[in-house]
Amino acid sequence: MNIVGHELKKILLFPALIGFVVLALALNIAIVSTMCNSYANFIANATRTTGVHLGTAFNEAALQLESGLYTDTFRLHTSNVVDVLYGYDTRYIADFAVEWRGLSGLNERLMRWKYARFQYAVDARQQAGDSMTVYFANITYMRHQALFNYTMGALLFQGIILAALIMLLSIGYENSATTEYVVFTTKTGRKVNRHKLLAGTIAGVGVYAVLAIVTLTVYFAFNPMGGTWGSNVSSGFNLVRDGFMARPFVTWHSLNVAQYLMAFLAVSLGIVLCFSFMAYAVGLWVRNSYIGFLLIIALNGVLYLLPIYSPFHMLSFAVNQSPIWLVLMRDMWFTDGGNNIILPHFETVGVMGSLAVLVVIGMFSAAGFKRRNLL
């Protein structure tokens, strides 16, 4: 444990890392501060009085709100709301996905199976009244995107870049300090990579946690959620855009905004870990950290291009659950995932699967490193 502590100290006291984190935080605060919306703040405050469930009681409570600049707009958009999930048939989405991608055989059956299962989730959300919650009313999509696409997206990109760099720093430290011929000459010395892995992982996750805590604290200071915390993210006002289509945002499980944020952070953390492990494996094979970093970018570039150009649908569906695609598809997490995805709960399956694959690759790389000639 003592070695891990020393390795951690090496990483955390690296001046350039501190500079990077400070810059990232400054950027996030700048982004977040431009997202203020006075109508959203009004809704956040109003929903403390009205509650979040649309209907007669909500309308009556809305009528009691003190008259102001946004009161009429709010009342207008929250009265006579159509339950978009009533009669919502997921077969149409399945038909579109099958036709759009030209699926047949097993791929078609799996796509239809996913949407047949998704129908149960849609019905459950509708029956529970989740779709008839207010969220941010007519600006829901914009506010949902502001938090979960742009703010969390910026955090996620910073998190994965830092996680990869930190792990490369941890693994490549001895090479750059020209101490590897001392450290790795003995069998015991070569085991230090385990401690480096642990230290790099703790540092990567810790830095992401710091970024997330500070950024989200500032976000919620500028953009209070008020009563909307209890609103369901599957609100009828929310949308998911999938190619040409805009569809209701429906999650597999009932999640209010607070629960969705927690789940989102958990998956983000999983992705950050994936990039840490990816950097670990690359760092063990490529001792030049610069080339190692370029290799990580190239690897993810290939993973990005593969589903676009692969003639095999199953390969595309598999790669669409790789960490880089999960990052790009973050605005669909916990929903059906559209026509790029064939399995339910793709973000959870994707993170778990990627972690498992990367752990195996990491173990294989570590075993290879033990026997490698470093000269």
């Binding site: 690296f14 001046p15 350039a16 890392l17 500079g19 990077f20 810059l23 990232a24 950027l27 431009t34 006579n80 709301v81 159509v82 339950d83 009533y86 009669g87 870049i161 760099l165 490369l168 720093l169 490549g172 430290y173 750059s176 030049n288 950290s289 610069y290 970093f293 370029l294 190239a298 570039g301 990005y304 291009l305 676009i308 150009y309």
Partner: protein, 418 residues
């Protein structure tokens, strides 16, 4: 000069060039190719179909009022409506509902009672569609938009052609409606000024509706590629010298102490050359499709989109290319500064990655929709108060980066080695 030449040889080594070549291939298949294909498709499948291209072929870069009259939009609309009337007359589903001609269908379709008439139910003001209502509606649409399953076939249907012609009527005959609204309500002085100018000119540019927007996005991606390629190319030069402590050797002589100046010159020159090569390679496929608009003015407006300045598309391309070069040189300067304060590659990467990311961000917000009212720099940072802030931002950043880097290079001969 000889030292600069040797530094250039160090920068332009085979391995790095291979990485840059792979990077270019990745960008081409990852986005640029799709940009070219999308624009190619939009010249025939945009909101005006193929009609705007036809007008350009007939009348050249601008549309005069007599040319608009000669194109006879009302007559063309009437002709396609006659085709639609014929379809309705021979399709039983319309007869069931007493529809005999398209104008009658169009009025009914846009009425509040359309869905209720088809059998949808209304409870507490909410309309609930029934399967019968949806099937009837789809049968009508199928009759009007029935095609051979291809995009060309769909766009050739009279229903779609009518939509294109109506859009064209909005663009060239009724443009005053949204321009006057913009002049009355928009808080950005430059937007109002441009809207007034377009109104006075009769919104008469026949430039392809999607050209400037797609080219701006395309050039933003090329800008990102140039920034990343320059970063990859020049990062190792200074850091590797410092990492291997070669600078101790270099600094032991009077000429060696000036090495940073030579390296700075080599870096800036490399960025300049590489960005020009990337621009030349990347712009050619797009310009092969759009060269005929080279002399057409970008100053135009369609609904809420407005291009602000009276310059030709050719001039727009040149400005975009210059800004990409400027950003590439800025990247060189910024990375030079970051490398100067790094003793080894790992430390440099923690500085170079955020610097490169920041320049990528600047390239995107400056180049995407450049010179339009929707540009982020113009609208969000400068609130539409000044002319072409995109140029000002890119040049200012480049000057700052190059001047600061130059100062460090100049002062290096007095630096203390640690």
């Amino acid at each position: 000069m000889r030292i600069v030449k040797h530094e250039l040889r160090k920068i332009w080594n085979g391995r790095i060039l291979l990485i840059i070549a792979l990077l270019c291939v990745g960008f081409w298949f990852g986005g640029l190719r799709e940009g070219v294909r999308s624009f190619d498709s939009l010249t025939r499948h945009g909101i005006f179909g193929a009609y705007q291209g036809l007008m350009f072929e007939l009348f050249g870069e601008t549309l005069e009022s007599h040319e608009l009259a000669a194109f006879d939009l009302p007559g063309r609309i009437a002709a396609v409506e006659n085709e639609l009337d014929a379809i309705i007359a021979k399709t039983p589903v319309f007869a069931v509902w007493g529809i005999t001609h398209f104008a009658q269908y169009d009025t009914w379709r846009n009425s509040e009672n359309f869905w209720l008439d088809l059998g949808a139910t209304q409870i507490d003001g909410t309309v609930f569609f029934t399967d019968e209502a949806i099937e009837t509606h789809e049968a009508m649409l199928q009759a009007l938009q029935g095609h051979d399953g291809t995009l060309e076939g769909w766009f050739a249907t009279p229903y779609m052609r009518r939509g294109h012609l109506l859009a064209l009527e909005w663009r060239y005959a009724n443009y005053n409606i949204w321009l006057e609204s913009m002049i009355a309500h928009d808080s950005r002085p430059m937007v109002v000024q441009s809207a007034e100018r377009i109104l006075a000119m009769g919104n008469n540019s026949l430039i392809d509706n999607d050209l400037t927007r797609y080219f701006s996005l395309y050039s933003a991606v090329v800008g990102v590629l140039a920034v990343v390629a320059v970063a990859v190319l020049i990062t190792p030069l200074i850091v590797v010298d410092r990492g291997r402590k070669v600078n101790y050797l270099q600094y032991s002589s009077k000429i060696g102490r000036k090495i940073l100046r030579a390296q700075f010159a080599a870096i800036v020159l490399s960025a300049f050359v590489l960005s020009i090569a990337i621009i030349a390679l990347a712009f050619i496929p797009f310009l092969m499709l759009s060269w005929r608009y080279w002399n057409a003015s970008i100053l135009s407006s369609c609904i809420n989109r407005l291009w602000l300045y009276d310059i030709t598309f050719g001039q727009y391309v040149v400005v975009a290319a210059i800004l990409i070069i400027v950003l590439a040189v800025a990247t060189a300067g910024a990375i030079f500064i970051a490398s100067r304060f790094s003793q080894e590659i790992l430390a440099a990467m923690f500085k170079i990655v955020p610097v490169t990311a920041a320049l990528i961000g600047i390239a995107i917000v400056s180049l995407d929709q450049m010179f339009s009212a929707q540009n982020s720099v113009f609208t969000h940072f400068f609130r539409g108060q000044i002319i072409a802030p995109e140029i000002i931002v890119c040049i200012a950043i480049s000057i700052i980066c190059v001047v600061v880097a130059g100062i460090f290079a100049w002062r290096e001969r007095r630096a203390e080695l640690q």
